[in-house]
């Protein structure tokens, strides 16, 4: 049984200071560009207080609640993969000399980041990307360094959005593992669950008292309440086989008429990992960087073979995305690639909702 502590809201800065003094750069929710996004903060004043978000398919609006609460919103457009699997990474540099080429691998030691405000679905997403980059045949050591350097402060969701369906994917809303510390925002302070020895080392000097039974109960009821509020569902029973049995369903075409193949869903998805390496040469081609960046199965060029894409229309690309995420991911990594965070639904510029599409695809053709 994990250790539970409590601190008052006015002690929040102390906690933050402790993180910073331990050498971490704290990345937390902030408000920018009319949304809640993750960015480095210097104090709790940089965090949104008294805000919530309204989310619908293809729709996101920030709303001021006027209360003093810090975490009354769901996940926004950013995910932590931006820090662990950055959108643009230098891989290596080649330098030409008289004798030939020197290849220098770029080593990323990993910034000591403390991620503050990681939600349950996001913990699940991190675990999924670990499988991809750390547990396959090859290890991405730069990812490993970044992962090892990070400290995770999770937060249990109190106010899910209309696009959340973590309950269907069995990933939330309550954080179960994968964190150093998990917070629950109570009416007057925070319940703090210690999830690792690193977490324990961090909070011990603060001397926060153990949580009371009442505080634990309040925390439980917050999570229960959040669970009840989640209305969106996806039927995952035997979903892998149900989807793989529908590869020629006419509904793929129906989605393709709406889908813009614009890549937004894959970019915002916290588990999508496809990438692309490009050459960045100088004019003389004597110094050449190789740069890896996020790519997407929605880009026609992604599947180019002998000049033409293997998946040469939106129908096949949407099918690749959805079946990979929800079906073949199981074969490759032993679980679903979807954590139910709802980002792809919110940030699709034409509001395509995968839970709705899955339901339609699993209907037998008339």
């Amino acid at each position: 049984m994990n250790d539970f502590r409590y601190f008052r809201i006015d002690q929040f800065p102390e906690f933050l200071k402790q993180l910073m003094q331990s050498g971490y750069r704290v990345i937390a929710p902030t408000i920018d560009q009319e949304a809640i996004v993750y960015a480095e903060i210097q104090s709790i004043d940089d965090m949104p207080q008294g805000y919530t978000d309204e989310q619908k398919p293809g729709y996101y609006r920030l709303q001021h609640t006027g209360n003093q609460r810090f975490f009354d919103y769901a996940v926004g457009p950013h995910s932590w993969k931006r820090y662990l699997f950055p959108p643009l990474q230098l891989i290596s540099t080649s330098i030409k000399s008289q004798d030939g080429w020197t290849f220098e691998d770029h080593v990323d030691e990993g910034e000591p980041y403390a991620f503050l405000g990681v939600r349950a679905c996001e913990l699940a997403a991190m675990r999924i990307q670990d499988r991809v980059f750390l547990e396959g045949s090859y290890v991405d050591t730069n990812y490993q360094n970044r992962r090892n350097a990070s400290f995770i402060v999770a937060v249990n969701c109190a106010v899910p959005s209309a696009n959340c369906f973590c309950t269907s994917m069995n990933t939330g809303p309550k954080c179960k593992s994968g964190f150093d510390i998990a917070l629950t925002e109570l009416s007057d302070g925070f319940l703090m669950e210690i999830g690792s020895s690193l977490g324990n080392e961090m909070v011990t000097p603060l001397g926060f008292p153990s949580a009371t039974e009442e505080q634990l109960t309040e925390s439980e009821s917050i999570s229960d309440h959040a669970t009840e509020q989640i209305k969106k569902t996806m039927d995952t029973t035997d979903l892998r086989n149900r989807l793989m049995g529908q590869l020629e369903h006419s509904h793929w075409k129906e989605v393709a008429d709406r889908c813009l193949s614009c890549t937004n869903c894959t970019m915002v998805c916290p588990t999508c990992f496809c990438s692309h390496v490009e050459e960045v040469p100088d004019l003389n081609q004597e110094r050449v960087d190789r740069r890896k960046s996020w790519d997407s199965c929605f880009n026609p060029g992604f599947s180019k073979l002998h000049g033409t894409p293997v998946r040469n229309d939106t129908r096949s690309r949407y099918r690749q995305w959805l079946t990979h995420k929800l079906a073949t991911w199981h074969d490759q990594f032993g679980e679903s690639g979807c954590v139910g965070c709802g980002r792809c639904i919110t940030w699709c510029p034409v509001g395509i909702d995968l839970t709705v599409e899955v339901a339609a695809l699993c209907e037998e053709e008339p």
Partner: protein
Amino acid sequence: MTQGTSAPTANSAWKLHEIRLVSRKKEIPIVETFEFEFVDSAVGQQYVARAGQFNMLYIPGYGEAAISTSGVSQNTGNIVHTIRQAGNVTNAIFRLELGQTLGCRGPYGNGWPLRDFEEKHLILIGGGIGMAPLRSVIESLRQSGWSFSKVTILIGGRSPDSLLYSAEYDQWRSSGFEVLTTVDHSTTGWQGNIGVVPSLLDRIELSDPNAAIVMCCGPEVMMNYSALAAIERGIPEDQIFFSLERHMNCAIGHCGRCQLGSYFLCTNGPVFRYNQVKELMKIPEL
């Protein structure tokens, strides 16, 4: 299917080694066989590739291309590749002069599970540049002490002058291998078969289909028809092997590019049993 066994070492994912072009030989139009040595000979000594595996060859400024090993190089530690000029990287390789260097990482992929095939009748079917990974099989067979009941090599090309490795057929035959060729279009002087490669399957002697192994590499249509022809002759589906191609960017299962259904071609393949992929290959644009 066996997983790629080349031990993943820390930091190895993108680690490039410098290799030097030591010789090149023209095979057929726009295809040449290149031999490279490792600039750091210690790396070369440790380098072991099995038939059917591939390397990522890298020319800075142009990028990388997946290229199968087309020969076995145990004596010199050199690597041998037969390359068809297709685009930026392969064109740049063709512009290399002897002594110039480039980057290489690998070997990647699973390769043909040759050890499982001992005492079997091996039927190798290659079309076009698809003969490259089969040539490394032939070389292994000729050099290894393994015993096989019979080896049959079926080769197809567009025309007689596009039959890859034709100068070596006599050597192969002298090793006891049966070699049959066919072309889509004949030219004057051609005495051999005309038609598609799968049709050659009908002509070979097959004492026990259950002891036959088909190894196939070439255009997807050609492989599919070869499989059907083999099944027709009673060869079980799980004894037919394909080497598949998709564009590869990382070769280590991280970039997502070479997926086919549940498989990453780079780490789960490129060699697959026919029954693993046949349903997937039926679905267009999967």
